[in-house]
Amino acid sequence: MTVGLEHFLILSAILFSIGLYGALAKRNAVVILMSIEIMLNAVNIAMVAFWRYGHLITGQVFAIFIMVVAAAEAAVGLAIIISIYRSRETVDVEKIDLMKW
């Protein structure tokens, strides 16, 4: 059985759902950010697989944009986590409820 487009797409779906579970179930904000990074990487795998099996370079261009946005998101997200930790001494998302109405 040769490795084809389906294999890469299913691998990407598996990684995405692992990240989705982590982002929804975990309480530590840093672990949630790590899960979001896994999800973004999973999407990138699908993008590059579509480029490989369709020869449209737009897939790789999109993957680069996703990488840049992921870097920006990680920088701002971790800055928010650190500043919350400074004022509240916790990164547990069930205890951070300033925005809850």
Partner: protein, 161 residues
């Protein structure tokens, strides 16, 4: 390529599971680095040479260091990473998403080109990004502005008042 794909797929899925399920948060971060490396290898099996290098540079080099830095600064390693109240719902959502995606992927008749692209991708990628007619020059500039805004925002957020 076949063997490499299966090995890298197993490594990436196993290390992603370790990130989510390990209670020790620092070990989870180290497994995240392993996951990023395996994904760089998967890009290499897909003939995306530039992206494999960019993955190692950006994710393994920058984002992983940033995350480990944040773990060190927020000293909650002794508490670990417990699961929240919605663990079961989260598992159901993830499983439903996975089943739906697998059904869609296996049920679709993909029109694929099986022969691999042989040329290095860097120059064609640059062409696609910067060409005048159908390039991505405007998104590229917007993304540059976004990065600048993110850097300034991060500095403003963590600055001592």
């Amino acid at each position: 390529m076949e063997v490499a794909f299966w090995i890298l797929a197993v490594i990436s899925v196993a290390s992603a599971l370790a990130v989510v399920f390990l209670r020790h948060i620092f070990r989870a971060a180290l497994f995240l680095v392993l996951c990023f490396f395996a994904i760089a290898g998967i890009y290499a099996t897909l003939n995306a040479d530039f992206l494999a290098a960019a993955q190692v540079l950006i994710y393994v080099g920058a984002i992983a260091v940033l995350i480990i830095f944040a773990i060190m600064l927020t000293r909650e390693t002794q508490q670990g990473s417990p699961s929240g109240r919605f663990r079961l719902i989260a598992f159901l959502v993830g499983a439903m998403f996975l089943v739906t995606m697998i059904l869609v992927v296996t049920g679709t008749d993909w029109q694929v080109i099986t022969e691999a692209p042989t040329e290095p991708t860097t120059s064609s990628l640059a062409q696609a990004l910067f060409s005048r007619e159908e390039g991505f020059v405007l998104p590229f500039e917007i993304v540059a502005a976004l990065l600048l805004a993110a850097v300034i925002g991060a500095i403003a957020l963590v600055r001592e008042k």
